[in-house]
Symmetry: C2
Subunit: 342 residues, 2 copies
């Protein structure tokens, strides 16, 4: 590996950069009032076409670009909305972010993205940081306490994704429906004891999945044990394999696909064949069919969740009022090759 110093080539030329040109300079240069320049950019119809053209030409020449911050301060509308996610590197979120961005763009809004590294403190800090820069906020899989979320919701329009708090508009991906199908699927394959490999303890989805598995298992005369995987990640799943096998279960449902992928690797290391000797189901279906064996998983609807959340937020911002919306997206099991007879 080459050292940093060796990689850096630079000349000594220091070019002082110009400060941003303002509306006043354009006005002076064009021989008009500041307000006319402003109008030329926001309501050209109020000016003579020739005046607009002249102003635009001068603005172009001077390299004038409207300052959105100043505009926002004066209008109270900055056209930005914030989106906060716990971990952008988790493949569950990029499609959600993309969909949110697309939906925001349709109404000419920009997305301010925050990544919290699964850290509530960081999340709280970010929300505060967004204050005054965004008109509304979407919190995806928030790790914040109910109280904190309520406090923030009092400050600005707020939509929750995968977090169920009364009185705050929320979009919920109901993995419960898919998880129940997973348990039924495993039961029919003859499995009598399964383990749930749990995710982050402050995750709403984690609680929901754990509960759904327990109740579904009871109906199929299957027993369930829970093995924690601390965080939702590959390594976490991999190290949990020992504990999983120690339970004597013949199948497992993992909190998410990433965890499942780690478990898959851990099982392979211990020469436990899948699905021959052990069956595994993931959640969120973010890996498609790329694992080996291809992972049976519970579908996710993150794209719709992102789209709907932003759509609800824009609606809420427009009406300047909050409705107690609870939008639920159902899921289902996608059967592939990682599950088989016990």
């Amino acid at each position: 590996m080459i050292s940093e110093a060796k990689n850096r080539e630079f000349s000594d030329i220091m070019i002082k950069r110009a400060k941003g040109v303002t509306i006043s300079q354009v006005a002076d240069a064009a021989g008009v009032a500041r307000s006319s320049v402003s109008r030329a950019f926001t309501r050209p119809d109020m000016l003579l076409p020739e005046t607009v053209e002249r102003i635009m030409k001068v603005a172009e020449a001077l390299g004038y670009v409207p300052n959105y911050t100043a505009r926002a301060l004066s209008t109270g509308r900055h056209g930005n909305i914030g989106l906060i996610v716990p971990d952008i590197a988790n493949p569950f979120f990029p499609p959600l972010i993309q969909a949110a961005q697309l939906e925001a763009d349709r109404s000419d809004f920009c997305i301010f993205l925050g990544n919290t590294e699964e850290n509530p403190k960081q999340e709280d800090k970010l929300v505060g940081r967004f204050a005054g820069q965004v008109e509304g906020l979407v919190l995806a899989s928030s790790r914040l306490s109910d109280e904190r979320i309520r406090a923030h919701a009092g400050q600005m329009p707020l939509i929750l994704i995968n977090r169920d708090i009364d009185g705050i508009p929320r979009v919920l991906i109901d993995s419960g429906s898919g998880v129940r199908q997973a348990v039924e699927h495993l039961a029919k394959l003859g499995h009598r004891k399964i383990v749930y490999i749990s995710g982050p303890s402050n995750s709403w989805s984690n609680k929901q999945r754990r509960t759904a598995i327990r109740s579904a298992a009871a109906g199929f005369e299957v027993t369930v044990e829970t093995v924690p995987a601390v965080t939702a990640s590959y390594n976490s799943g991999r190290t949990a394999v020992g504990a999983i096998l120690a339970t004597g279960a013949t199948a497992a449902v993992a909190f998410d696909d990433l965890t499942a992928q780690g478990v898959l690797a851990g099982l392979a290391e211990k020469n436990v064949s899948v699905p021959g000797a052990f069956s595994l189901v993931g959640c969120d279906d973010v890996l498609g069919a790329v694992t080996y064996p291809a992972l049976t998983s519970v579908s996710n609807r993150s794209t719709e969740a992102g789209r709907v959340a932003v759509s609800l937020l824009l609606e809420m911002m427009q009406s300047r009022a909050v409705r107690d919306v609870r939008y639920v997206l159902e899921t289902h099991l996608v059967v592939r090759q990682s599950t088989g007879h016990s």
Copy 2:
């Protein structure tokens, strides 16, 4: 699937939301001047501890939150930097984004993220939209023309990732080094004709890889043909398989891992075994060992690229000057199971 209407439950309660409380209201309520409130939040050391405490208490009670937009307008510093990527759903970018965010956070800066959907128009619009909201900008794998980039660089501090323009600070991931190793690897395995499955035509990385393969191949007496894959994606790679096999080549290097993954799927459909009958190398190494067979790939250094870019940007913003930096990150080949003897 349940209809949207059915999923939406909401009460009729419309709660009017309060407007943001300002520094003046806090000042009045606390019986101090506005400037004291401002100081309590920005330079508490300038005030008596008891004054600070009193102000803070009142602020807390009123639910005051500093307005960053107003603050930015007055100071000229908003503590935001923009980061624009072509496709957030491409696994190459999340680690880069995460690293950039982490580095920004160390200096208490926030990242404003933009996604362009590989569309230059959208990219141009976003840059304009960021004007005045960010103090600096990082453009990753920009699809903009040199002219547009130069124009924007004149407006604010700007760093490029994977784009090589003279006079504009840039961080380049040199996949050339890794690609050359790939060609050598294939040549040693006896392959005499290989194809390069190209990516987006306006991608700097694509040009760089194509060029590197050609020159390396010449040195090893290997012939190269190029098959286009339009966009960098799974489907694109999958549909290119026909054209790839038609060339009669025995191995291929794909623009990126996503494309390679598609090719892998396409080859499997045609019952062409990998690496038995065909060898394949990816680029960017974003899939780890999860494909089957595990993909031989050229390493990426996106995390470092993100970190370094932000670090350079902050440095540049501080000095209010631009140096002609060209920071190069070397790559290497990661051999796995998708390559074998011809």
